[in-house]
Symmetry: C2
Subunit: 150 residues, 2 copies
Amino acid sequence: MKALYLEDLQAGQVFRGSTRIKVTVEDIVRFAREYDPQPFHLDDKTAKESIFGGLAASGWHTAAMTMRLLVDGDCRIAGGLIGLGFEEMRWPRPVRPGDELRVQSEILEKRESKSKQDQGLVKMRNSTFNQHDEPVQVSVGTLIVPRRGR
Amino acid sequence: MKALYLEDLQAGQVFRGSTRIKVTVEDIVRFAREYDPQPFHLDDKTAKESIFGGLAASGWHTAAMTMRLLVDGDCRIAGGLIGLGFEEMRWPRPVRPGDELRVQSEILEKRESKSKQDQGLVKMRNSTFNQHDEPVQVSVGTLIVPRRGR
């Protein structure tokens, strides 16, 4: 797959991940034990009495899995997917054991960097969907993207 | 530690995590292998030639470690730390092997929910610092916080 430079990207372009991640109870609990050990991410019984109504993945687990889907997807930026930060990040619904996640990204805008001649900034919306095509995470972030050498 | 309700929180309140996380090469590589397998998160030699100039933790790893610091900290919201989403998320500098991370949070505003009488929304800025007191992650997010039963 050809590496993408700033010149190859334009607003409206859509990238679809080519892989899916099936989320297991074990994955949810393992991530939560290390990074987000709250009862509703660790134990289904306790989770049933929580706001989630059942075991749910940590939002940061969903974010991490989304990153994996992006890295394995077809938006291969030259130099890698390097995020400066996000201006929006939402989890419209929980990720449950058995869910199968995929990602879709849309370029919202691009601009050349003012300070660095050899790179630009690309704003992108990444939407993570479950197997029912319901969004489980929506984020709008800015990537650093190199310009093609002249 | 007493669980906190909406009534206990007000703009300007600051919470400090009581723990620190020491970041190792092994942690960085293990997280990256599973969730963000890009060369600059996996191998120091390759990372030296990248924009990071050396091995750096995935931003999502930093986000996950920040969540752990928050969960172990003294901002014990009744019902747990449940994020609706973020309106800002930045990584001002990379996290390196050997860094020791801590978190500090400030309540920016709170409001009662319009749709749900028993809960409110609290906007919070979470800043993650390294051992040099330099911010490595800054996020502004909204938590769902229960109101005290009357």
